[in-house]
Symmetry: C2
Subunit: 131 residues, 2 copies
DNA sequence: CTATTTAATGCGACTATGTTGCTTTAGAAG
DNA sequence: CTTCTAAAGCAACATAGTCGCATTAAATAG
């Protein structure tokens, strides 16, 4: 796997690799506790959060907050196109408790003098596998 | 023994009135701690949450979870039109730390076999007053 | 190779948000 | 007034996420 070292100062560590590996294989947005459960090595909670947030800073992952109030981290598959990577809907299945990125883009118009910095859109229900 | 009392109605209490009053006067979506700070009487934290959740059940308020992971409660102004009351964008201003309901409706299409039960869309940035 | 630098990690403490169980209070109906 | 029970208060608990600080270990210079 290629290193995602955008910032020269980042070091590649087993922890980073393991976290990214789990998220990649799962193919969904994952929370810290889900990652900790699924990972085969023992990584401290705080460390996982720091790794995840660093990945977000570097544009490797993006963060979504679901209606359960938890942060979920997903791969940025179209990170060359920032707009596309941020402004899409996410779907949270109440049955299998997973969150996935939908191909559906979020379109909106806002009143005058409003500035949007971030978009957080999550649809909740049952996914195609749990139908 | 009176077993005919099936419909247990809500009771009107000073707490309920006060909470609803604050939210109405503020005109925005409010979190529990914001309500507790702004209210003039002393109400227990758990009680405020219970009041708010009851209002949600009764269709008086609706709940949004912002990207800060907190629950915000706003008046349902068009609750006769369920679709409209749920599916609108919310705007969270990072400066004045308030959340308001936008008139912008959320439109989306989802893949086959997905069922949507809830929509949670929050835009974050600076509002017209903090511009 | 060793030595140095400092990013990354582990640990513990801490804050905040929200919920639950249990007891007490009080609203409304009889 | 009495009864029934929703609602409120309190305390404990659960979970999520962050932060300070000491230690570890990548990257690199020598």
């Amino acid at each position: 796997m290629q290193t995602y070292r955008i910032n020269m100062k980042r070091r590649s560590t087993p922890t980073k690799e393991a976290v990214l590996d789990v998220i990649t294989k799962t193919g969904k947005a994952m929370s810290q506790d889900a990652i900790e459960k699924k990972i085969n090595i023992d990584i401290n909670r705080a460390t996982i959060y720091r790794v995840l947030n660093r990945f977000c800073e570097d544009g490797v992952l993006h963060k979504v907050v679901a209606e359960d109030g938890k942060q979920y981290f997903a791969l940025c598959l179209d990170c060359d196109n920032i707009h596309k990577s941020i402004n899409h809907f996410h779907f949270r299945c109440v049955k299998c408790e997973t969150i996935e990125c939908l191909p559906t883009e979020v379109n909106f118009s806002i009143p005058d003098k409003y500035t949007v910095q971030n978009v957080n859109c999550v649809l909740t229900g049952t996914c195609k596998d749990c139908f």
